[in-house]
Amino acid sequence: MDSREAMELVDAHLDGEELNEEQASALTEWIKQSPEQADDVFRRIFLHAYLRRSIQVAAIASTEHVSLEGSADHADNAPTDAAFKQRTQWGWWTWSVVIVAILGCAGLGLALSSQVVGSGPADPFVYEPFDYPGFDYQGFGFPEIPDSIPLGVWPSEGGTTGRDGGSGFAAPWQEEGHLVSVIESDPMAHPLGKVDLRQFSRLSYIDSQGAVLQTNGNQLRTSAGDYSSTTRTLNVEQAPANLRDGEQLGADGGTLWLSFLAQSYDGSGEHRYAFLELGSPKAGLHVGKLTSIPNGNWGIAGVVNGQEVNARSSDTSSGESVFVVVRLEFRPGMELATVWLNPNLGVEPSENTAFAQMQVPDLRFDRLTFTGRFSTDFDEIRLGQSYHDVAPVAAP
């Protein structure tokens, strides 16, 4: 048997064809003949595994894009449209996260945060890892593991007020809601209910190639109840000059990248919300779990006179942990927002893998605000001038 014949048998086996006794024995003997031949066979198998996860991820991205944009242009293109719509749930990244969650469930899970070192010259001009002491649930009197989120048991003062870590800010965090957001130091130890989906791991992100987002510190948890509004003013003077428009960010011609991690208690929708707000009620942008998206999936919407407009929902439940990346292009008139969920790290994602691209009101902003009335965790907030600035890969 030569190499070509051996690879054809490997391919046949991996394509689900049953090899007969003679073929299986011949292949086994060929593998055993030399380490080089065994290596070649394994590389062929690895190629097969790589193609599965790489092409499946591309197909899922394509499906999400097509379904959100509602385009019918690809109706005849079976592999990139209708056919792909049959498989959206178990992409490589999804079950990578599930696997890490399993590790967490076994008490040995994800703890990527504290000692990760940067691997490149990522230089966000705003960065908030929420590296603050965690909220003392026991001291506050929160039930150990309630069946579901208990009503009326949540702090209404303190929270993040006065916390002033991170970089690129002009003032500490300030709580402005009826309730407050808290710092979550160990989500595995603090489920707010038996089905709290955050109890399996800390917020983190591994892309389809196995690259890990650099993370530090703890994470922010919005209130379980109505409502928390947690805000912090940016140091606009230290932001890149091409983004500054007076005392706010948003000069026409500038491009700003923003990223964060997020996961909600579960995927419930209707009137539950928790989002990052940029701009003002008059003209702004909401990214997260939105009032205007009743299915409870992650999404984005513009804000005009206090109302969410042009809302776009993703296919991803807010109960799933996501790495959200937004590119804001400031232009005369409406701005252009492009949003990706779980893009690969390392290389700037292409527009055709974005889950939404939409015009948003002509906005300017000088602060970040997390508003919520349903317990949701946020972390690793980055604003930068490039994708690399907001998607740094942790050192291996």
């Binding site: 595994a49 790489s54 590790l103």
Partner: protein
């Protein structure tokens, strides 16, 4: 709590945290190779993906047994072999093609070539983008939709043999492309 007890608790917590971090990092690095190893025995993607989750859970449960002084991948492959055997027993599936000495040889190959895999993945990403036309269509149907060559043949009104040959050539071409990008001599 007395100070000494507090100190002991903190120390234990730190060790557990280090252990979690070691497991997470080791697993993430090994996962693509373990997946390939699982696929070698379980070509049906849905089965392989389920099995990989079971391997991950077993690795987590048994992590106390792992000696951090030794390489992680061979140990994870040993766990994978146990789970593969369990899977075939419980499912009463057809015989394994790669069994006994063959699977041991593949496990050794997996360990040998693991270091090459990250650079191969980068090259593969480029090479995959260069595929076009019918080849790309077949790859998409095979790997995104998990269709077998016979099913692809029906979908595209081709012969199954033609689909098999085209897929096999595409894989060989990708392998050669990777070798060229990495400046290696094709085998």
């Amino acid at each position: 709590m007395a100070d000494s007890e507090h100190a002991r608790d903190s120390s234990t917590q730190l060790t557990a945290r280090d252990s979690r971090e070691l497991l997470t990092r080791s697993w993430m690095k090994a996962q693509p190779s373990v997946f390939a190893f699982v696929i070698a025995s379980t070509p049906q993607f849905s089965d392989a993906e389920d099995l990989l989750q079971e391997v991950a859970a077993e690795v987590a449960i048994r992590f106390d047994e792992y000696d951090p002084e030794r390489p992680f991948l061979p140990w994870a492959l040993w766990v994978a072999k146990i789970k593969i055997a369990d899977f075939y027993r419980s499912q009463k599936r057809e015989r394994l093609v790669f069994a006994g000495e063959a699977i041991d040889a593949l496990a050794m190959a997996c360990t040998r070539v693991q270091q090459l895999m990250s650079e191969e993945q980068g090259a593969l990403e480029h090479c995959l983008k260069e595929t076009t036309g019918r080849t790309r269509e077949l790859l998409l149907l095979r790997y995104a939709e998990d269709l077998k060559p016979r099913q692809i043949a029906e979908r595209l009104s081709m012969s199954a043999a033609s689909v098999r040959v085209t897929l096999s050539r595409a894989r060989s071409a990708l392998g050669k492309c990777v070798d060229q990008r990495l400046g290696r001599k094709s085998s």
